[in-house]
Symmetry: C2
Subunit: 348 residues, 2 copies
């Protein structure tokens, strides 16, 4: 189990301990909004970039240096483990993951196998070691992540991003037992991916269920909960905080918390006060500034940041973040201003 | 005010009167899922088709004939009034509305003017008269519709469909007074569009706020509520039921009801029992079968239909529908089977 030598406001907040300042980081803080990112990444595809530990280290550290955020998040992609076992998995710029051979039935299950981190994704392990080394003096923790089984299944079944996830749902409705085998296999892969990251040095993990918001509470509980729970509970013994996040998941907060989360990532649809009521037990929260506010710098944006800070820090265990990834058109000076506001806020 | 001579289960349910059977219709029932639609529409674009009253009549009546649904919905598009005043508004097959000249500031407001139904959209008025004439013997009512101001604003500002509506939100956050003028003007247009449809013979109307689900409750109340309310309250005196519908709007049900709705259209994220609790006053409900269920015919789909019927008909004022439009790949025999199940259900 990795323990930071330096105190970390981020790790303290994950554990619901009172902190002197509210910790802050941004989903997709390492990304296209940063000029130094665009220049370092050049023309490499995301999957190429991810396979270069020195580049991953540079991209992961850029926002830490620029913004003084309280956590680094590994530059990676939720499709990395699937791409490692299937060369037909690509990430197309401006579109997202694209799968050459869609999963459409039982016979496709054989294409999924166990992830062998040392052989399949050695570059991820190497990158994490390099990053931890660089971060050691500051004590800034590193967050690892994985895509949740439902979201991975949706990419495999739809063949790419989808608005309605109709094919995925039709699959789970029509073939519940094949669906269960598929999503269980994806849970194993996500779990192995997170374990490998933690063992290499990640001090917290986030499970991204980007598309779970397409589901009703009942659908989530019947078809998805068990698999996500397997992932989160599977890393419990490693003792790092587990963040569970989705967009449009206001109806799913309780089961998403109960799946084994220490921290619930909240988008902007629901207020943090309402989230606390819905979850029904004390839990650390992360979020919930609408990323669109970052395109509207100035007094109104600042008022919104302060409103969220007030609500978030009403109880210990709050991490400031956006409700979704940084939009590429965001001006880095806006994020810098947000960090300044968050760090100036007295949470007690 | 248009009053049907024949009794209508649909209109009775809108008024929360007990009905002998549960009424049913499907959003996008006139559309690509029907072979007779594909053959009648041929290569015409949607906007061309909409301008042909005989074709509109045929397309509107096709699902009524095939499925014996309890209401017809005008074959049209929410962009029709905007396309009538701006030739740069197009609907691109497989993509959706595309706006040549995006609205990006105050100077663009001048491009929006009042809708003059007799001059701008005479073909809509003609089509409604033709359809009412055809429907008269059966007493099946005709539903008209319009896009809600926020959804129209999003298309104008984004220039087309958007996943995050970030540009639209940045506009409303940064320029609240210009935003208010824009959305108020769009409210006037939507109101004039609905009034014209009702005066021509539409016996109910639905306001589609397709994208409102991108908003938090607070954003909806601050930036959108007033305009949608202007539309719905503006047609109150005409005495036809007003349905208010959006997707992913579980957090907005109360303000959407309070905007002047007689019926709340519910997607599949929230159960009908929960919707009743959230709205906090008796209101008619319409929905809420996930359209993806229609790709999974058989026993499981039927069980889901029955579950929703049980929940929906617990109180008078329930209209069966999908939680969103019919998916193009839906087999018409599945919808026929659903109508059969709904009509066989005893709601008392």
């Amino acid at each position: 189990m990795a323990k930071p030598v330096e105190p970390s406001a981020f790790l303290d907040a994950c554990a619901m301990r009172q902190t002197a300042t509210v910790p802050v980081w941004f989903m997709r803080q390492a990304g296209r909004s940063l000029p130094e990112y665009r220049s370092a990444r050049g023309d490499a595809s995301i999957l190429e970039a991810v396979r270069d530990p020195a580049l991953v280290t540079e991209l992961t550290l850029q926002p830490v240096t620029r913004y003084s955020v309280d956590a680094a998040i590994l530059f990676s992609d939720i499709m990395v483990p699937l791409a490692a076992m299937d060369s037909g998995v690509q990430i197309v710029a401006g579109r997202g993951p694209v799968i050459e051979q869609r999963v459409s039935g039982e016979s496709d299950l054989g294409r999924l196998r166990d992830l062998e981190p040392e052989e399949d994704i050695p570059y991820v392990i190497d990158a994490i070691r390099l990053i931890r080394n660089e971060l050691a003096p500051s004590g800034i923790p590193l967050i690892g992540f994985a895509g949740a089984p439902f979201t991975l299944a949706s990419y495999l079944i739809e063949g790419g991003p989808s608005r309605d996830h109709a094919r995925t749902k039709a699959f789970m409705f029509s073939e519940p037992s094949i669906w269960e085998r598929l999503i269980d296999k994806l849970a194993d892969i996500a779990l192995a991916f997170l374990r490998a990251q933690i063992l290499a040095g990640a001090q917290a993990v986030q499970l991204f269920d980007s598309w779970a918001g397409a589901l009703s509470t009942e659908q989530y509980e019947r078809y998805v909960f068990k698999a996500s729970s397997k992932v989160l509970r599977g890393v419990a013994e490693l003792g790092v905080p587990r963040i569970h996040f989705g967009v449009g998941t206001g109806e799913l907060l309780e089961p998403m918390a109960n799946a084994g989360a220490d921290v619930i990532g909240v988008d902007w649809h629901v207020s943090l006060a309402d989230v606390r009521k819905r979850v029904g037990r004390p839990i650390a929260l992360q979020g919930n500034l609408d990323p669109s506010w970052c395109l509207a710098p100035g007094k109104q944006m600042e008022a919104e940041v302060l409103r969220i800070l007030r609500e978030g820090s009403a109880t210990p265990g709050y991490i400031f973040n956006l409700g979704h990834g940084v939009l590429p058109e965001t001006d880095p000076s806006t994020l810098a201003r947000i960090v300044e506001l968050v760090h100036a806020w007295n949470p007690r």
